[in-house]
Amino acid sequence: MLELAALLPLGAPALPLDEAGKYVAGAYVVFVVLLLVYVAIMAAKLGRIERDLGEVAAIAEERKETQVAPGREAEEAAPHG
């Protein structure tokens, strides 16, 4: 208890602005940095989703073309007129 009592800033003057400012800035910067790191990670994840979606779209288009192609061949092979 005495050890804790020694920590109390009772009677001690508040830290001067130039010294306190560093701590306050540090605390708010930590908050902003954590937020930015989180947003950066989420941005990387969204980039991966976009890439995956592009791949899936390419596969779907490829399949559509291969399904359409036999029909076209038959059409071309049929006698005209």
């Binding site: 208890m1 050890e3 804790l4 009592a5 920590l7 109390l8 800033p9 508040a14 830290l15 602005l17 306190a20 400012g21 701590y23 306050v24 540090g26 605390a27 708010y28 930590v30 908050f31 954590l34 937020l35 989180y38 989420m42 994840k45 969204l46 991966r48 989703i49 995956d52 979606l53 791949e55 899936v56 596969i59 779907a60 399949r63």
Partner: protein, 240 residues
């Protein structure tokens, strides 16, 4: 659709954060004891409150998951806990900085408020390896929900125990017999609390939207019989 309403929510969060930070630095008076250092209070305490409430909310979603067996609620629970753990990291770091400025020490082991928060944080830090240890997705979701409910119930009990404990150095936010904060400080604090709460909600919604998009791409791949690319997370629940 998890993304519905995300845009107005994001705008409200940014506006509220800007307003609250303006109040912190240009409106709230300097504390008579601590002076300018006390400004850390306006970020540290709301983060701690929102993180703890987020853990409880994660437990409530877990109850919904066990009751309905709908995987959506497991995803809600996972994301709530995930965001609260990130906020918890911010609480521990900002608290350490404030402690160093006020008490001259980064950490005080005899202080119940600090140690109890660390215990809660470490408890939730085990949530990830716990999920990772279970291969089967259904079992993983069920066990994670049980964990989230148990740990979520522990949070308010822990909070009450700390409130009842005799604290010597850590201040009480809504003090007691001597009266609370002055009006300007209280208004600033409440605005910051709302802003941090909105931030948590926005990030939860944002992460759920990303998970939903990822889950739908996987569904599309399966429908097309295409190989699933990349290493999918074994612990993050899939939502669609």
């Amino acid at each position: 659709m998890y993304g519905k309403g995300l845009k107005p929510l994001s705008i409200a969060t940014v506006a509220m954060l800007a307003l609250s930070l303006s109040l912190v630095f240009f409106y709230a008076p300097l504390d008579a004891d601590q002076g300018f250092v006390q400004k850390i209070f306006y970020i540290h305490v709301p983060l701690a409150i929102v993180a703890l409430v987020g853990f409880v909310v994660g437990g409530i979603f877990a109850i919904a998951h066990l009751r309905t067996d709908n995987r959506k609620w497991d995803a809600y629970s996972y994301v709530s806990i995930h965001l609260s753990v990130i906020f918890g990291v911010a609480v521990l770091i900002t608290g350490g900085i404030w402690a160093k400025a006020s008490w001259g020490h980064w950490w005080v082991w005899d202080e119940p408020t600090l140690v109890s928060f660390l215990i809660v944080f470490l408890l939730y830090a085990t949530y990830y390896p716990f999920r990772y240890a279970i291969e089967d997705r259904d079992r993983q979701a069920r066990y994670a929900s049980v964990f989230a409910i148990t740990a979520g119930a522990f949070v308010p009990l822990n909070f009450m125990a700390v409130r009842m404990a005799e604290s010597l150095v850590h201040p009480r936010t809504f003090a007691t017999a001597e009266g609370g904060m002055p009006g300007e400080m209280l208004l600033t604090f409440l605005c910051m609390l709302v802003a941090i709460g909105l931030l948590w909600t926005t990030l939860v919604k944002f992460e759920l939207t990303a998970k939903s998009a990822s889950g739908q791409v996987k569904r599309l791949r399966r429908a097309l019989d295409a190989p699933v690319s990349g290493a999918s997370s074994r612990i993050a629940p899939e939502v669609s």
